[in-house]
Structures are given as C-alpha cells and as structure tokens.
Symmetry: C2
Subunit: 379 residues, 2 copies
C-alpha cells in the first residue's frame, strides 16, 4: 500500500475543513444565508489583501480572471509591456494579443527574472505604456519577480497599470496590493487558497477603476462593472460557484487564524528546507530568483526528469515536471497551501531514495538533515 | 424542526452520490486517472446528447458557455434573431449586442412562446440572418419554446445557426441536437445535471464548426478551438473544474442508468402533477407553453407572491419568485433533476396549507389528490 501525496504546484491538497464544506448539500445563492457567507468571504479576502477596496470573485479558473484584467481595463491598441519569463508570461502575452493590445514582449530566459535596466529602457522608450503585465510568482519556472521596482516605474508613467498574476503568490506571501502599488491583482482557488479549481479572484485599484469607463473591449461574463455592483451587496451578476465560495470561507478561516505573518514565514521555511536540501544533495535549482510557492530543480545528467517523477510516484510522491523545453529536465515541488514541515521531509527523503535507486551518488539523509536543521533554527 | 427543501429552478438538490464525489481529496488534472474520468464523462455527455461530435466543458457557469456560443461562431455585425421571451432571452440579446452583433430583438410577452408567422416574416425579410438564438426552456417564465420549427426555418437560410440555451432543458427532455437540428447547444451544471454551479457544457454542429475559422471576435478563456483540441485527448486548455467533472461523471451515471426515455417521462409526470394540481387548486399558470423543468404560477389576487414564498419556507419549501415585472406575482416551482413523485406531493401540499393560512378558499387535499391520480395513471 502506497499513499499518493500531491506536491504539484496546483492543485494542492485540500484541508479536511474544505473537503467537509465541499461535500454538503447545495444552498441557493439568492438567500440571506448565502449572501451572508458571500459577504463574510469577501471581507476575509479583503483582509488577505489588506484592503477595503473591491475584491471580486468569478466562477472560472485563474485564466478567467487574467482575461478579466485585460478586457475591463484596456482598449484596443493600448500598448503594454509583458514580462515574459515562462509559460504564464506567455499567457499574458497571448491574452493581450488576442484582445488586440499592442504587446512589447520582453522575453526572459526561463528561470531568470527581469533585468531592471532593460525594463527602464523599454519604459523610457515607451512613455505611452498603458500597462505592465507580470507574474508575481511564475509557476512554470518557480521564479519570483520583484514587484516593488515595477510598481515604481509603472507609477512614474502617465497612465500605466501594474497588472499582477498572483495565482501562486497570494497565500504564500503577504501580497498587499495597495502597499506594493499593484493596480490589478488576480489569483485562483486551487493554489495557496487550498480549494479545487473553478474560482478566481480579482482586485483593482482606484487608478484601475478609472479605466473601467474608458475600456472599449467587449466583456460580458467577466464584466467587472456588472459584478462590482452586485458583489458589494453579496450577490453576483451570474450564478456563482456556490460550493467553492462556501469552501473559500473555510480556507480563509484557516489562513487568517494562522495569521499572515505566520503564513508567510511558514512558506519561507518550507521553501528554504526544500531548496537547501536539494542543493545539499547536489541538485541544481532552476531559478535564480526562487519563489516560495514551489521549487524547480534539475535532475542529474543522465536521469530523465519525467522518468524520475514516475520513480517518485512509486514511493508515494506526485511532483510536476517541466514544460516545453524544460520537459524531462526538471521536477517542480510545491510547498504552497496545506503543507507543513514534515511534508517537506517526506518529499526530500523520497528524492534521495529515488536518486539512490537511479545509481546517483547520494549520501542518504543528507538533504533531510539539512532541512531538519533549517526547521530547528527557524521555528 | 423544519427541513428546508430546495424547489428553486437552479440550483437543485444534489444526489448523495454527487455530494460524496464532491467531498473528496483533490486529484491532479494532468494524470492518467483524471484523463480517464474526463474521457468517460465526455462520452457520457455524448450519450446524453446522442452524438459522437465534440462536447466541451468549461469552468464557468452557464452564461460562460452562452458567451462561448457568440464569440466563437459569430463575427462583428453578423445579424442574429433573438427569441426574447424572458430574462434569459434578454441575456442572449445583451450578449450578442455586447459582442457587436446586429440584433433583431423579437420581444415576446413573458409566459408566451414565439409566433411562427412572426418568425417566418422576420426570416423572410432577413435572409442574411447568421443565427437564431433561443432558450429551449426559458427559466424565468417556465416556458418551453418549440425547436423543430426554428430548426427548419434556420436551415432554410444560407448560413444561419440555431443556437440553443438548453440550461434548464437538458436532462429534462431528450435534447438530441443532431436529430433536432441544433447547431450550438449549451447547458450548465446546477440544473438537471444535479451539480453545484461552475461547469458549463457546449455542443456544436458540423455547420457551426465551419464558422470557427471565420469568426473575428476575440476569445481566449472560452476558445472552442483551444479546448476542442485538448478535450478530445482528455485534457483542457486551462485548469478544469476538477471536482465538478468528477461529480458530473457520477450524476451522468444516475441519468444514464435511469435511461433517457424514463428520465423524460419522469419529468413529464412531475410537471403534470404540479401543473394540474395548481389548476385544481384554482391557481393560474404563467406559461401558455409550460416547460417540464419548472412551473410558474400566479398567487391569488391579494396574496403577494414573495410574502407567500416566506410562508412556504416556514413549512420547509423554498421556491423561487418572479423577476422584474413578475416580482411579487408568481412563484416558480422546480421539478428538474433530483426530484421524485412524493417531492411534488410535498410542495403541492405546502402550497395548499399556505393558501389556507392566507385565507384563500381552498379544499385541502384537492390538488394533492389530482397529483396522486396523475401519478397512478402514469406509472
């Protein structure tokens, strides 16, 4: 008997409280009972974002909220800069192009973050930039992009919005859009919010709000104006993902009970344990600017990463692989959401075992020891 | 102690098998396990639609699939006829207008269906019509619109698609798009498919498929081309609503085990029991062409329908009210999905009791008796 443990960067395991909330008889959404839950959930999301501004929920996966960020706040031919450093950077670019924005596609080698001088140069040459689109945490390369610099440079322009995909950073870091200077922030349910996929979330700033009237792109299902009016009163323009919202209310309880400082610290420790253990074992990290949501690591030469993932699965660990040109070269280990310290010990230990079985010279327990030390010294 | 029973036309009660499927730990969507479930579910949907053509699932509520019907198969300025006979007819109109189609808005009094001569006349004067948009079952007025006539008239035109919102008809009637001649058929999860909201479904014909290349409207999240390629192989372009698809696999088992003939017959009997009981009690039906998914009925003069709904809730029955100008005038009783005969006896009896308590002259048990007779004579 082998138990399968999910360590993929989305979906991540559901806490029992969430599973319980999901496995319930449905309630109607146009009732005081649901309105009450909806408004509670909304308020908790505002706490998560440390804001009293509008935070909207859509019945869609994260890509839906990314689409909402484009169609509500931009117009045809608006010029935007896409920080394209991975699969989800490409998604920003493709979305922006689809809706006929003019895209400056700043392509960055996978695993690296943007170059400040390069961004400064682009911005200098394009003062008419209407938006900078970026992933806070690029899941495909497990890379964190600094937002502070982008926020400064964006706000130095006349009318530029900083649009952030926080799908794998919200709930891992304290992502406070008003403090950071994010204009549009989106996230999804199946990552650190510890829910099944199917619910996406969108925050927008006062500056972004002014764009709502100007935007000439057609929108209906993802209309921020339509939802904004309704959601403030605990309703939605179209039928909401009732059971996911009820479950989100529960998972936000867990998050807020832990506290955002503790949450951020836990994720930092989980990530450090994983990264340092991998280095100790002798494996190379993919990212030069690693995110605390997941760790991408190269398998040793001669060991195909996808074959290695199957070896891990035999011991009970499911991790993700690489995409596109990284396929077969890396594995990605999630540590966002419902994970604690011993979970990371399990996955590190499994990697040691699988490396050993593949004939790779590894001191069994060395990575685990490193992770244990980090844990002991951190908490 | 009063038990609340949901008789609203969406969401409707979930069967225990569905609740059980929902209340489970998540699995990853890029696994043979999920691909297998996805392909099984897809095949069962094809059985439901009696087709071997593409049937797509989107992580959205029904309105999302309605939007997909517009943005994938039409182009700016395409002229379409909207059969607008209620709240959801208005939604077709608004969607089509939002995406800059030219809309002939055929407004019909709520509770009535379209006039064949009128439709013939419109079509005769507009041979360049690119689409006819209709609700099979208009939920806001509990009205069924005949599709056969629309299909004939649509196929008589050079290049016109019949686009059908089957959100409250699929799973109530046998809606076989190829036999009827429907080009695009959409439905949603929280109606007769007996799931929470958050999953929508779209069928398209061979004729509609030819439009995919021509359509010049931007689409990304709801891209039929992107999803079509992936879903045939058991994957999706963007993260799917994993737990709803797993639950749909279960609810389709229930539907296919009952059999589509039995399913249609059961819904017909439930609807007849309700309608005939209401008439027996002396209440007037809203619709001249009532749908088997829900029954709309006027409360007697002097009894506000929304106040009456509260009276029903006190006995344990939640029904829906009227929208817009029908607010306070009608109640709507669902009988689609997870309902059986005694469920209808409960709701009929509750209505008798609430009428009696409101001082309305009613022979207690008269409506119930009528419903019992219909049941006895039908099965």
């Amino acid at each position: 008997m082998i138990k399968e443990r999910l360590f993929t960067p989305g979906p991540v395991p559901l806490p029992p409280q969430v599973i319980k909330a999901l496995g319930q008889q449905i309630i109607h959404h146009r009732t005081p009972e649901f309105t009450n839950i909806f408004l509670q959930t909304r308020e908790k999301l505002q706490k998560l974002f440390n804001t009293d501004r509008d935070v909207l929920m859509f019945a869609s996966s994260g890509t839906g909220a990314m689409e909402a960020s484009i169609v509500n706040f931009f117009s045809e031919n608006d010029k935007v800069l896409v920080i394209n450093a991975g699969k989800f950077g490409e998604r920003w670019r493709d979305l922006a192009k689809t809706f006929r924005l003019q895209v400056i596609d700043y392509q960055i080698e996978w695993g690296r973050t943007y170059d400040k001088d390069k961004v400064s140069e682009i911005v200098k040459n394009n003062p008419d930039l209407k938006g900078i689109l970026v992933q806070h945490s690029e899941t495909s390369t497990t890379t964190l992009h600094d937002l502070q610099f982008l926020s400064q440079i964006s706000s130095s322009l006349e009318d530029c919005l900083l649009v952030v995909d926080g799908i794998t950073s919200v709930g891992v870091y304290k992502v406070f859009p008003q403090e950071i200077g994010i204009d549009i922030l989106v996230t999804g349910s199946q990552k650190a919010l510890m829910l099944p996929p199917g619910l996406s979330i969108l925050y927008y700033s006062e500056k972004a709000e002014k764009r709502l009237e100007k935007s000439n792109l057609p929108k209906y299902y993802f209309s921020v104006k339509a939802e904004s009016k309704k959601q403030a009163k605990g309703q939605t323009a179209y039928t909401p993902a009732i059971n996911l919202i009820i479950a989100l209310n529960e998972s936000l309880n867990l998050i807020l009970e832990e506290g955002l400082d503790n949450l951020e610290k836990r994720h930092s420790i989980l990530a450090q344990m994983t990264r340092e253990a991998m280095k100790e074992i002798g494996l190379k990290l993919l990212s030069e600017s690693p995110s605390n949501s997941a760790t991408g690591v190269f398998t040793p030469e001669g060991i195909d990463a996808d074959k290695f993932r199957k070896d891990l699965l035999k011991i009970g660990i499911r991790v993700a692989g690489g995409q596109d040109h990284l396929k077969g070269k890396i594995i990605r280990i999630a540590h966002m959401g419902y994970f604690d310290y011993l979970d990371m010990i399990e996955v590190i230990s499994a990697i040691e075992i699988a490396l050993y079985k593949n004939g790779y010279k590894v001191d069994l327990g060395k990575g685990v020891k490193k992770a244990q030390e980090i844990y002991i010294n951190s908490v």
